[in-house]
Subunit: 391 residues, 2 copies
């Protein structure tokens, strides 16, 4: 009964190529094949026991009503305290919004900031939803090539070069998805300063904080109060399916973020918010630190393994749970290579073209969201595959 | 570090006036006052026991991971079957998306359909987020006055009169918020036909289905496959805080909705989806039907009570849990009157101006989301207040 056409807006939102890989992997498994999954950007661990218990305790009462649009005051207080403890940052809970995943935080931040035609600088390679959500709100994402020569991270200089009259701000992530690359304090300070001089905004995606190895992650809030910071209970806190994240906004955006929360979400899911009250407890932290150590071991094993197989490796990534491996010695089309790896070796990975358009065909993203045993098995399979392939 | 300004977009998103009422009510309660809450658009009942149990059973395993972006296949199958049982509509689960509340369904539907400058016809009075979300996506909401003379519902004729060159489609709700007014089959068919002739879209908000008294609610899917239908687990199923709803889309929008779900939400909350698997069980239905009967009794008591106090009443609303009462005999400013009612009588209501701009100052919305005893108490307080006020 209507024109039968979707919006032009949504036609610019591209599907994730990894979905093809996942579907094919599922089909193989239904035929009885065994697949090593290194395509999934989701920790394999269950929800930590104390968080589960907090949820179960809350559900016993059965009163699962809306919370305030901004989120439970008790949870916002705990997050504020977390910033004090982890980053030595003094943060008012009034600036913290509990969102449905970091996805919700991203949406609220962008809707607060951009108007039609506004340009937003993003990173390539980077999280694909960034560009898509900018597009959904009528903005113009312009990707900065932050390839190998830049250590896969943004710099003030790159921002200065890319800045145009239409530019309103910058989105970045440290650690980055898909590379795990991080910025240090001086680099982040330089980024913030470059943006400040141009009166732009910074949206700093810090969802992989906590999963950083052998160093400490720097929050943009250590450098300025006037930044938007996204974080999530999904990655370090192991709560993916609960769909819970948070957004820190500058003072001037509190009212806007509140109105957006009311209109777009009413509130974040209540059981998840009560569950997350236990996320900062000491016994939870013990579990989370063990998991972080496990991730670090996996990273070391996978990095070493891929290197010895002939992948061209970037510097060892300091965070997240990804290795972005250059497969140029095997192929000039990493998407075709990913399909081949899946079909012939039973190893699922994510092709580079999910993360941008600057040389994506050279790269595969391996996620170490599976056990050391499965990583070993995966490496063995790739070795056999490469030997038979004779490349 | 930035221009310190929010987007023009978000400046057009207005706060809900009821938030002022709720804040003032909270302040009164903190001073020890007792407030009768008739402002809240949320059922007062706890989550039905079988739904809670399903959630608890799921959480025992602890594996709370993402679901498919479209939602659990088992839940989508149950919803499809619900359409067969309740509406005699044959619906493929492929057309059903599980969303974070009906808010998520609304966002996905509008982002799928409108581009900048597209006009969308909405109802006044109506759900305020409709206009706001259209605005957020750069669309132009144009409200149709569906006041008392139209029985507070849309008609094909009103649509035909309002249609302009820029119009892309129509949003409506039956039962309506804030009035509870419904459309019957012929009226809905007429609406659909009028839109079809103009090659527009219809977004039919059916979140109050199930809460309809003495008749059956008609779904737009009974009339056409080419409509967007929103529904929710919040109202009839009593699951507000779980943030779960669904969206039915026409075939042509399946791919778009999928991409939007991936980018905007990843997936709806997993514990809520598993909980909702029990929402269609027979033992849940027994509880839900009892609650619906309780709502019907409350409606009757409140309607009668307000009428006897001198409010000018519309025809008795057939659904939802609201009465939209005309207080023109007491005031020409219902917002000021709502504040007075709260401060002097301890009764919280929602002022008409939250629902549009056509004569909002005449109306107050009373929600019967509180017990018969509290409704009686509220009516008594209003009576005393009016007597003392001498109006």
């Amino acid at each position: 009964m209507n024109v039968g056409k979707v919006s032009k807006r949504v036609e610019q939102v591209f599907p994730f190529y990894v979905m093809d890989i996942m579907e094919k992997a599922k089909a193989l498994e239904e035929q009885g094949e065994n697949v090593v999954h290194m395509e999934v950007g989701e920790p394999d661990f269950p929800t930590p026991e104390p968080i589960l218990k907090a949820a179960q305790g809350f559900l016993e009462k059965g009163d699962v009503h809306y919370t305030k649009a901004q989120g439970l005051p008790a949870l916002r207080k705990k997050i504020a305290r977390y910033y004090r403890d982890e980053y030595n940052v003094d943060l008012s809970p009034e600036r913290i919004f509990i969102t449905p995943g970091a996805s919700g935080a991203l949406t609220v931040a962008l809707a607060s900031l951009i108007d039609a035609g506004d340009e937003v600088l993003t990173c390539d390679p980077g999280y694909p939803c960034n560009n898509n959500i900018v597009t959904l709100f009528g903005g113009q994402p312009t990707s900065i090539n932050v390839g190998e020569e830049h250590g896969f991270q943004l710099t003030g200089q790159l921002i200065a070069q890319a800045w145009s009259k239409a530019t309103r701000g910058v989105m970045m992530a440290s650690p980055s998805n898909p590379t795990g690359a991080t910025v240090n304090f001086d680099q982040l300070q330089n980024i913030v300063q470059t943006i400040t001089e141009r009166e732009g905004f910074l949206i700093s995606d810090e969802i992989y904080h906590g999963l950083v190895y052998g160093q400490r992650a720097i929050s943009a809030l250590e450098i300025s109060d006037d930044v938007f910071v996204l974080n999530s209970f999904s990655k370090f806190f192991g709560m993916t399916g609960w769909r819970l994240g948070w957004l820190v906004v500058p003072e001037y955006a509190i009212s806007a973020a509140n109105r957006l929360m009311q209109n777009l979400y009413i509130s974040a899911p209540t059981p998840s918010q009560y569950a997350a009250l236990a996320a900062f407890d000491e016994d939870t932290r013990v579990i989370l630190n063990q998991r972080r150590d496990e991730f670090e071991q996996r990273r070391d094993r996978l990095y070493e393994g891929l290197e010895s197989l002939g992948f061209v490796m970037m510097a060892k990534p300091q965070g997240a749970f990804y290795i972005y491996a250059d497969c140029r010695l095997f192929t000039d089309d990493s998407y075709a290579f990913a399909l081949e790896l899946l079909e012939k070796a039973g190893v699922a990975t994510t092709p580079g073209k999910d993360f941008g358009s600057s040389e994506p065909a050279r790269y595969l993203r391996f996620a170490y969201t599976t056990s050391i045993e499965r990583i070993e098995e995966g490496l063995k399979r790739i070795k056999t595959f490469l030997a038979e392939r004779g490349s």
